[in-house]
């Protein structure tokens, strides 16, 4: 009995030890706010190609950025891959990112990347209005995103203010229209909108007819369409025109942390992310549905062609680091 007990305890301890040990054997540590499925696809391919093992810590963009700030110099992260540029601008402002290698930086048109060259754009998504085709007609769509805060839209709109993807939109409205107009718009949304936790929730609600329209990033609809098929899809996308703020482009980007102890490997991974091979992999994945930013790679055909979308003129610097977005959302009662 004694020996059996100690044997069991011993095995458990051994397993626990090997388990802890295994977690430290990898060589590249990636903090990722991209969809885990996409990241798995990429890291497996990278591992196969380079022989470098990648361990991934997944989270929401703002959470990971704040975590990197809190961890400071002793952060285990080598590379930060996120789905919205403001999170990278935050780290850029704090001087936490190291320069991207010129060859890597040059793969992507410069206006999608860091103004000071410390992070590189990887993919992009368009903000759109998803609408239920049985509840509302295309000609009833608003000319501007700001219209959705007006009384006419009461009860007809869904948003996900606590989704990381919503913050850049608030920052963009703030940058283009000023604080007063932004707050008014958000307060209008507070009266008008049904609130969801994330974009997946918004697009599902629109598709099932719980609400007529919803502000999302375009790829959530594409994912829903893939999962539900044509028969199960009762929704479509409306693209804001005239360079309206509603058609904002959210840029996913990546950077190497200054605190990284594996800078060489980290730079290799960054170079991989913007390489035609990785960009093609993402474009074909049927998981991501983002626009690859590499000029030579075509996006998934379900997306509106990249040269036909009409985003607002807003550079990365002006879009900023989302620092005021959360405060404004709280003030408006959306958070």
């Amino acid at each position: 009995m004694v020996s059996r007990f100690s044997r069991v305890a011993g095995i458990a301890a051994l397993l626990a030890a090997s388990f802890v040990g295994a977690a430290h054997a990898a060589t590249l540590t990636l903090y990722s706010a991209q969809h885990p499925q996409t990241v798995t696809l990429l890291t497996k391919d990278f591992e196969k190609q380079s022989g470098i093992a990648v361990r991934v810590h997944t989270g929401e963009g703002p959470q990971l950025a704040a975590q990197l700030v809190a961890e400071g110099q002793s952060s285990p992260a080598d590379v930060y891959l996120t789905s919205n540029s403001p999170e990278l601008m935050l780290l850029e402002g704090k001087g936490m990112l190291s320069k991207v290698q010129p060859a890597t930086f040059g793969e992507i048109p410069a206006h999608y990347s860091s103004p000071t060259g410390v992070w590189v754009g990887v993919m992009a998504r368009e903000n759109v209005l998803a609408y239920n085709t049985k509840m509302i007609k295309p000609e009833q769509m608003p000319a501007s995103l700001l219209d959705l805060g007006k009384p006419a839209w009461k009860g007809k709109i869904a948003i996900a203010p606590s989704d990381g993807d919503f913050l850049p939109l608030v920052s963009a409205v703030l940058a283009l229209k000023g604080e007063a107009a932004t707050l008014e718009w958000l307060k209008g949304l507070r009266t008008n909108a049904q609130i969801f936790d994330d974009n997946e929730g918004v697009v599902a609600a629109v598709n099932r007819g719980a609400v007529a329209t919803g502000i999302i990033n375009n790829y959530y609809w594409a994912r829903l369409h893939t999962e539900m098929g044509d028969k199960g899809t009762h929704s479509a996308l409306y693209h804001f025109g005239n360079a309206d703020v509603g058609a904002l482009l959210n840029v996913s980007g990546a950077a190497v942390l200054k605190s990284s102890k594996n800078a060489e490997v980290a730079n290799k991974f960054l170079a991989y992310l913007v390489s035609p091979r990785a960009q093609q992999l993402m474009a074909n994945s049927k998981v991501t549905y983002e626009y690859p930013l590499h000029a030579g790679v075509a996006p998934d055909p379900i997306l509106k062609p990249f040269n036909q979308i009409n985003p607002p003129q807003l550079d990365m610097q002006k879009l900023g680091d989302d620092s005021q977005a959360v405060a404004l959302l709280r003030k408006a009662g959306l958070l």
Partner: protein, 541 residues
């Protein structure tokens, strides 16, 4: 997570056998070390609680008021309280009705129904949620949330009420009948009052579970305090913004816990004598048995058939590119399974070991201090996993840097979460060890540690194994603390189901869900057959 936490009080033995006073005097006072170790364990439980309160208090009155009195908090409070109230009532109706038909009628196949009615407890609520969400997106609202929590939590009422019905003295009902009361009057005036402690206790457990439930609601996109705390964490990482919400949630949970203690403590409807037990009278249902049978079949279909059926459905869909955009490879599944099992074993080992000193203290040196420490450990039941995890993340990054992002820290979080669960079995097992054997060992020259190692632990082995197994299942199916504290690169089964379902990749989630439910059902079945039904399902009066 919340489920297993909440299950715990059900399995706490209602009778509290006390060690004969003789042994206390023979043994004398507990050693300094035993007290010290037990006190440290209790402190470990208090740590996240104290830290959350400290963070919340650190805000200052003005800031705190601004954070608490936002419009959204009111909405969340309404959502949370409404789902708690509704889930408690529906669970009470379903659970009590099922118990009455199983225990008090000649329902055909009632032994099978008894097992099937309790079995949903082995299916983690977020798996049930996954099944419904993937079945129809139209369930993503209050009604869907109510359906999922009711199917997940009604056994918490079914089990104690069934036990109470079994243990009831038939003489009372017979007397009432002889005095001329009809069946309905008898039920409301004689049976129901006797069921009150079991029913109320169970309802409070459902309330506690619903309050701290995270995964099921998050997948259904139904917003409560727990899901909002996670949303705050996603936007700001550091727990300070969420700590106000966490404090409110903690307060609500602790109120439920305190009420549950009171209900359990105050009222017992035992018979005076402990004579031979007579089976209570059963009613003949006649033609009425058909609708009742149909209801039981329906219940089983909804609570077990649905999650298992949907998992199988999505397993078969696997490989169909149009529906499954995500590749699931065998190494990934194996990896996640090993992580889950490894964490489960480590969690079970640590939790059981930590429960030992307090268990020994309670079994051998009962007294005011031991009881106080026991109460403190049971407080953990009132701490939602998300609150504990958030506190530990902040604590680690501020003060325990070497442990930050380590598997060890996650295992400690599991230990805090599941100590109450382990303590019940550990204490019961140690109470069954005959103290005179220890005296004999000591008189033959073994010291305290040798006695513990060579006499007490082997004798208490099965009970300790039961504790470890319960913790193992709970850790495997835990989601919240795992999400926040998993070391970099670690993917568990629960995390994979979560990630894939959140991305609507239902087929990709299926293999992970299948393994998770398989583990849970098989371990529960093993526990029941090894340690007897009452050890697992409880002997609540």
């Amino acid at each position: 997570m919340a489920m297993t936490q909440a299950v715990q009080p059900v399995i706490r033995p209602a009778t509290q056998p006390t060690t004969p006073a003789r042994h206390v005097t023979v043994r004398g006072r507990a050693s300094f070390w035993l007290f010290g170790a037990a006190a440290c364990v209790a402190l470990l439980v208090l740590l996240p609680l104290a830290f959350t309160l400290r963070q919340a208090l650190g805000f200052g009155a003005a800031n705190a008021a601004e954070l608490v009195f936002r419009p959204i908090v009111g909405e969340l409070a309404l959502n949370t309280l409404m789902i708690v109230a509704a889930a408690t009532v529906t669970s009470a109706i379903v659970g009590a009705a099922a118990a009455w038909f199983v225990e008090r009628t000649h329902l055909p196949g009632r032994k099978i129904w008894a097992v099937l009615a309790a079995a949903p407890l082995a299916v983690p609520p977020f798996i049930t949620s996954y099944a419904w969400v993937s079945f129809s997106e139209s369930l993503q609202d209050f009604n869907g949330a109510l359906l999922v929590v009711t199917t997940a939590y009604y056994p918490l009422i079914y089990l104690p009420v069934a036990a109470a019905l079994r243990g009831m003295d038939p003489a009372l009902e017979e007397t009432a009948r002889s005095l001329g009361l009809g069946p309905w009057t008898r039920f409301f005036r004689v049976v129901l009052p006797q069921l009150k402690p079991a029913l109320l206790g169970g309802m409070l457990l459902v309330a506690l579970g619903t309050l701290s439930e995270f995964g099921a609601f998050a997948l259904l996109r139904f917003r409560t305090f727990t899901t909002e705390i996670y949303a705050e964490y996603r936007l700001s990482f550091d727990g300070s913004g969420a700590s106000m919400l966490a404090s409110i949630l903690m307060l609500l949970c602790l109120v439920c816990l305190a009420l549950e203690f009171r209900v359990r403590g105050l009222s017992r409807y035992d018979r005076m004598d402990r004579g031979a037990r007579r089976a209570p009278a059963r009613y003949h249902l006649g033609w009425g048995k058909w609708p009742v049978l149909a209801s039981f079949a329906g219940l089983t279909l909804v609570t077990l058939g649905m999650p298992l059926g949907m998992i199988v459905y999505w397993l078969l869909q696997h490989g169909d590119a149009a529906i499954t955009p995500v590749e699931v490879s065998l190494p990934l599944v194996l990896d996640a399974t090993l992580s889950s099992v490894g964490l489960g074993l480590a969690g079970a080992a640590l939790t059981t070991v930590l429960a030992l000193p307090l268990g020994l203290l309670l079994a051998r040196h009962p007294g005011r201090i031991a009881t106080l420490l026991e109460r403190i450990v049971y407080l953990a039941q009132g701490l939602p996993g998300i609150v504990i995890a958030l506190a530990i993340v902040s604590l680690a990054i501020q003060a325990l840097r070497p442990l930050y992002q380590s598997a060890a820290l996650l295992v400690v979080a599991y230990a805090i979460l599941f100590l109450p669960l382990a303590l019940v079995s550990v204490r019961a097992a140690l109470l069954q060890v005959e103290p005179r054997l220890e005296d004999a060992a000591r008189s033959l020259g073994l010291n305290r540690w040798q006695t513990l190692w060579r006499v007490v632990l082997p004798l208490a082995g099965p009970g300790l194994g039961c504790a470890a197994a319960l913790v193992f299942i709970s850790v495997m199916t835990e989601l919240t603390a795992t999400l926040l504290l998993a070391p970099i690169g670690t993917q568990t089964l629960a995390m994979q189901v979560w990630a894939d379902t959140a991305a609507l990749a239902f087929a990709a989630a299926a293999p992970y869900a299948a393994i998770l439910v398989g583990f849970s059902l098989i371990s529960t079945w093993l526990l029941m057959s090894l340690f007897g039904k009452t050890a697992v399902l409880g002997a609540t009066s």
